[in-house]
């Protein structure tokens, strides 16, 4: 008999419009939409992965950007992992991530992966090497991604899933 399915809750955190919903849709449905529909509260998706003969079902909580009233905290309860999302064309987006990370001690125990999104917009790319080094130190694992081209989207979620398994 194969190993039983594990269900795990993960949350996406990031500023408004960094592309959280777009990343989830690319990962779950493999689509991308130029239009922007802000998320109200939270939206839920699921996706099942196979990692080293272990089936893991991710319950993905796509939480509205921080700016939308600070009620994202309650959605974090019981979360097994966090996908931190920043926008490579928008310095405030990773500064905000660092600030939130610093203010929430309890989140440090939870595995995380950081995606610097919108990597397809190279002409507007503004993140510097020292920023990346700093993010790497704080979040452990950083990838450049693009929900538009699909670059590193699957890799980002898979890496987080692996860390959830290791974390047991």
């Amino acid at each position: 008999m194969s190993a039983p399915v594990l269900t795990r809750k993960i949350c996406l955190l990031g500023r408004l419009a960094v592309g959280k919903t777009s990343l989830v849709r690319r990962f779950v449905e493999n689509v991308f939409d130029e239009r922007y529909q802000t998320t109200v509260g939270v939206s839920i998706h699921t996706k099942t992965l196979n990692i080293n003969a272990q089936t893991i079902k991710l319950i993905i909580w796509d939480i509205a950007g921080f700016e939308q009233v600070a009620h994202y905290q309650q959605y974090l309860r019981g979360s097994h992992g966090v996908l931190w999302v920043a926008d490579g064309t928008e310095p405030a987006s990773w500064q905000k991530l660092l600030a939130i990370h610093q203010n929430h001690q309890s989140i440090h125990a939870v595995p995380g992966v950081c995606l610097i999104n919108k990597h397809d917009l190279l002409d507007q790319w503004r993140i510097r090497n020292e920023d990346i080094a700093h993010l790497q130190k704080v979040f452990g694992f950083v990838l450049f991604s693009s929900a538009k081209t699909g670059e590193n989207v699957e890799q980002g979620f898979t890496e987080l899933a692996k860390r959830l398994l290791k974390d047991q």
Binding site: A17, H45, K57, I59, V69, Y75, S79
Partner: protein
């Protein structure tokens, strides 16, 4: 099922099947419509955004904020507003369960054309309500169709039981969404303590949420459930928490807990209407049924008894713990050797009633603002003073009793620093009665005397008679041996006997005729004072003034002179304020003797007439 009966069904139910098909199309139609609107909305929003980038941020906040205020104001309608989020899933599931229901109904229809069935067919034809739906409405009170056991923290589905359908496929997303909504509601209504989503209407479905310590139960019910169902669901949830505490705490096991699933399956009940229950008893094999029922009852009783004992203990303990002021129950679970209670305990909380074998405690201290404990703390503070402190509901403390200003001020400070106390009312506190005041209430200061007490020094002022003041001062020195007494301004007046003696002894000499010497004038003044004092003490007192002469001169002249001397003194006394009525005069001229000049006999003597002697009224 043979094709024969299928044909009959087709004949009997052609209309209903067509109606069902229509219904289903309507459902799909409305979905298409909503999708179309959603598309237009999205584009419109996007245009607005393109024109004004600030629009993004400015819109995001009001959405969340608006939801919160709206939810606070109108809980019911906002919960309805959430329905679209889970609505599509449920709607799809409804059509699936109608299909299932149809299959179930085949059995009933096959029973034949009972009078009831014919009646319902007639109603269906008249009202246009599908026959199957009518059968459901007429035979089933309610049916629990889906049961979700969901981890409160993560929203992960622990186990699920239910009829097939769309919902069953998306149950993980459904659980998470429901938890998010629930968290949102709880967070928004955080001030109304513990307010959570309890139920919501989803079309013809009722969504019920039963809250538990670690996991909650969400059930979808078709029909009209009674409140009693909620109780039995709550019981089932308690039982699951009790039996599977460890499993519930380990998310690795979620979805792989067949015993829990079985418990949930037990909840998928169909409650038939009473009348039809009666109809269902056909009387066939009733005996067998009885035997089976008896065996089952015995088994259930045996297992149930043990379980109930345990549950009763747990229930009693929980009830007791909940009523102990200053104790907050966080968790109660069974451990290897009994029950383990986790909670917060105020140092003053009394757990003795629940401390017995088989109950272990894991306690953390906290400060309770429970009125009874605050009152206890108040008592401790006011111990050793003559003050009583009473706590009112609004946190106001009322002090009564006696206290000095210093004691009161320091107590006030301490009280106001105490959590749970908002205000202190000390208007009812009286200053303490000093020993001196207590002494005075028993030994009043003699009349006409003023006694002032400053720094252990007693100052007396005024006039009083010796006996009165003497006995009072004796009492003072007995009660306060160390008291310094200042009597410099005290005039002690002679008392009655001394006065009488002094008055009787006074003599006014008149060396020539009725002339009074300076010395005689002083004597008269002093005599007048004494007389007045005496009359103050006893107004009936009177005197006789006796005028005398020596033996020079004729006896007639001497008699007259003696009379004039007495009158003269009387006049002088009246001038000094002595009552005329109380003065008699007498004479004692020279009786016999050598006619020589004797100044000692030229005088007026005084004698007090006591009332007992009967001279005066």
């Amino acid at each position: 099922m043979n094709s024969e009966s299928d044909k009959i069904k087709q004949l009997l139910l052609a209309d209903e099947l067509a109606l069902l098909q229509q219904l289903r199309e309507k459902v799909l139609e409305s979905e298409h419509f909503s999708e179309a609107v959603a598309d237009v909305l999205a584009t419109a929003t996007q245009r607005a955004w393109k024109k004004d980038p600030a629009y993004q941020a400015s819109l995001a906040k009001p959405i969340g904020e608006g939801l919160k205020t709206a939810l606070k104001r109108e809980q019911r309608s906002i919960i309805d507003a959430f329905v679209p989020v889970i609505g599509p899933m449920i709607r799809a599931s409804v059509s699936a369960s109608i299909k299932k229901l149809m299959a179930d109904l085949n059995r009933i229809l096959e029973l034949g054309l009972s009078p009831k069935a014919i009646k319902w067919r007639w109603q269906s034809w008249k009202t246009g309500v599908p026959f199957a739906e009518l059968v459901f409405l007429n035979t089933v009170e309610y049916q629990v169709q889906h049961a979700f056991l969901i981890d409160k923290d993560s929203g992960l589905l622990i186990e699920y039981a239910g009829h097939e359908g769309e919902l069953a496929r998306d149950k993980d997303a459904f659980s998470a969404m429901l938890t998010a909504i629930n968290d949102f509601v709880a967070d928004t209504l955080a001030d109304d303590t513990g307010s959570r989503l309890r139920s919501a209407e989803l079309g013809e479905y009722q969504l019920w949420i039963i809250d538990g310590p670690r996991a909650y139960l969400a059930v979808l019910i078709k029909g009209n459930p009674s409140e009693r169902l909620r109780e039995s669901l709550q019981d089932a949830l308690d039982k699951i928490h009790f039996l599977y505490a460890e499993e519930l705490a380990n998310s690795d096991q979620y979805g792989q807990l067949p015993p829990v699933r079985l418990e949930l399956e037990d909840l998928l009940i169909t409650k038939n209407r009473q009348a039809d229950d009666d109809d269902n008893h056909t009387g066939l094999s009733r005996q067998k049924g009885w035997i089976a029922a008896l065996v089952l009852m015995a088994l259930v009783a045996w297992g149930g008894w043990r379980y109930l004992q345990h549950k009763k203990q747990l229930h009693n303990l929980t009830a007791q713990l909940k009523h102990i002021p200053g104790f907050v129950l966080q968790d109660i679970r069974s451990s290897d050797d009994g029950l383990l209670v986790t909670g917060l305990k105020d140092p003053l909380a009394d757990l003795s009633v629940v401390r017995h074998d088989g109950v272990k405690f894991r306690l953390r201290p906290y400060l309770s603002l429970d009125a009874s404990l605050v009152q206890k703390r108040l008592q401790r503070l006011s111990e050793g003073t003559a003050l009583q402190a009473r706590l009112a509901e609004n946190g106001q403390v009322t002090l009564s009793g006696t206290a000095s200003e210093n004691t009161l001020a320091s107590l006030r400070r301490q009280l106001l620093a105490m959590p749970g106390v908002n205000a202190v009312d000390s208007t009812q506190v009286t200053a303490p009665v000093s020993p001196w005041q207590r002494f005075l209430s028993r030994n009043p200061v003699p009349e006409n005397i003023q006694a002032t007490m400053t720094n252990q020094q007693l100052t007396l002022q005024g006039e009083t008679s010796g006996t009165q003041i003497k006995s009072w001062l004796a009492a003072v020195t007995q009660a306060f041996p160390d008291m310094a007494i200042d009597t410099r301004h005290l005039r002690v007046l002679p008392d009655k006997d001394a006065l009488i003696a002094a008055i009787n002894a006074s003599v006014i000499t008149m060396p020539r005729g009725t002339q009074i010497t300076a010395e005689g004038k002083q004597s008269i003044t002093s005599l007048a004072d004494k007389l007045k004092l005496l009359q103050q003490q006893d107004p009936r007192m009177a005197i006789t003034l006796t005028g005398s002469t020596d033996c020079t001169g004729s006896p007639e002249a001497n008699q007259k002179l003696a009379q004039r001397r007495a009158e003269h003194v009387k006049q002088a006394l009246v001038q000094h304020g002595v009552d005329k009525q109380r003065i008699q005069t007498d004479t004692k001229p020279c009786a016999s003797g050598p006619a020589r000049l004797d100044p000692a006999l030229r005088r007026v003597t005084t004698k007090v007439i006591q009332p007992a002697e009967g001279h005066l009224p």
